[in-house]
Amino acid sequence: MNREKKRKAYCIAVTSLKGGVGKTTISVNLASALSTIGHKVLLVDGSIYNPGIALALGIEDNAEGLRKIMKEGNLKESVISDKRTGLDLLLVDKPMLTVKIAKPNIVRLLDKVKDSYEFVIIDVPHNIPMDMLFRFIDEIMITATPDMPAVAHLPKLYSILRRKRIRSGLIMNAVERRGYDLDYNTIRESTGIDPLGELPRDENVYRCAMDGTPVVLKYRNSPFSVGIYRIAKAVERRQKI
């Protein structure tokens, strides 16, 4: 068996401190981009209180995913394959408002999953206790938009991640460089964090949000897609180290 096959998946959690900054959009598109480059990718909707991936991909059937696992404990039957994107998906069809997340279950689940993929991407909102994931995550991608409410509380999160020695990167999304937006220097000064990459505000993102297709598939050359592919390449390099 070659080394490539034996290697466990590189797990990325896409998260943010503020809602609506683009976690789901980035997760779906980054996963699709990695898949089109030829990787075996599992995309997990960890946004169990307000799931968004099924809608973003226009998938209405068999989206029981995580709920099914909680009920039946069967991973294989809960994962579905999406032909269009080539992704394997672990979805949530409706909010799991009353579910207590059983730690041991998730632990076992993620461990099993790690063997069969090259990348696992999890969309994790700010209101899920993150420490639970720390054991499995190789990298946390933090998403923010260039305004004060979105970046102000980042330093606190970063100090936690540094303490736990978790690799992390900051993605600035929906960047427009309007006069009143925060620029990199201000962000660096006020948070002490170097942004890892940026994605422009792109009208095609809104268009795609309405019809359930990833932007990278529908508008391959749109500025947002170009940015996503750049991040995908960076992620490929980081997986190797």
Partner: protein, 257 residues
């Protein structure tokens, strides 16, 4: 309408404009002359401080909600308007007050002599939430599928609890690929009581730490916020002898000082 009339601004979806609307609604009500309290109950990303230029206020909602302080201990006054504000404090873990704490919290709010209490919340929905006993839940959504779908789910939760709710649609740009108001109403049984356009005055006012209704009251977003405040305040005035033009009178006086 009993007072204090408590309005809780919520959404399951993040970044839809809860805080922006909460802040501008509260300031507009205050400018109209109503004794108003604005509470930042977002424990994951409190941001009312940035909107109002009060980011250094540090005693907050958490101390109050968990019974460590009384309202008067944690209220800060927004100097330009006199609006009372309980800012949020960022915390590692979202706090869930105990049932007893919630009861006391609600009671102190109910017994206060504010006319309006506006509570801004974090995205999501929690049953154990201390502040669900509001007179009105204003669910904020953008005119797209993701946020409308979660707004309608939240509305269904409130229906199950018998709580009153209305929708405010924010960031309307009238694009072909947006949901129209009538499309939203097809799936919603309640009322849409606010419609807010996408407006640059919003990010500008956040960057300036001055709410839009104060910084630029002619901006389209400000007008929508004032219209919402008026619509809400109508319920508080007796039919006869209702003040007319009170809001603008107040504003004019304010700007003449």
């Amino acid at each position: 309408m009993r007072t204090p009339y408590i309005i809780r601004i919520g959404a399951q979806k993040g970044g839809v404009g809860k805080t922006t609307i909460a802040v501008n609604l509260a300031v507009a009500l205050k400018l109209m002359g109503y004794n108003t309290l604005l509470i930042d109950a977002d424990s994951t990303n409190p941001s009312i401080g940035f909107h109002l230029g009060m980011e250094n206020a540090n005693m907050g909602t958490r101390a109050f909600a968990t019974g460590k302080a009384r309202i008067k201990d944690v209220v800060h006054v927004h100097a330009p308007t006199g609006l009372h504000v309980i800012p949020g404090v960022v915390s590692d873990k979202p706090y869930v007050p105990t049932a007893e704490q919630s009861r006391r919290f609600s009671k102190e709010l109910r017994d206060s002599n504010y006319q309006f209490i506006i509570i801004d919340t974090q995205p999501g929905y929690m049953k154990a939430d201390s502040m669900t006993r509001a007179d009105l839940h204003l669910i904020v959504t953008m005119p797209n599928m993701e946020s409308c779908a979660s707004a309608l789910r939240l509305a269904a939760e409130f229906d199950r609890e018998g709580a009153k709710h209305s929708i405010g649609v924010n960031r309307i740009r009238n694009r072909a690929y947006e949901l129209s108001l009538s499309e939203i109403l097809e799936g919603y049984s309640g009322k849409v009581i606010g419609e807010f356009p996408e407006d640059e005055s919003v990010p500008i006012s956040i960057a300036e730490h001055i709410p839009s209704v104060l910084l630029n009251r002619r901006a389209r977003f400000s007008k929508s916020a004032m219209r919402l405040a008026e619509r809400i305040a109508i319920g508080l005035e007796p039919e006869q002898g209702r003040k007319t033009g009170g809001f603008f009178g107040w504003l004019l006086r304010l700007f003449q000082r």
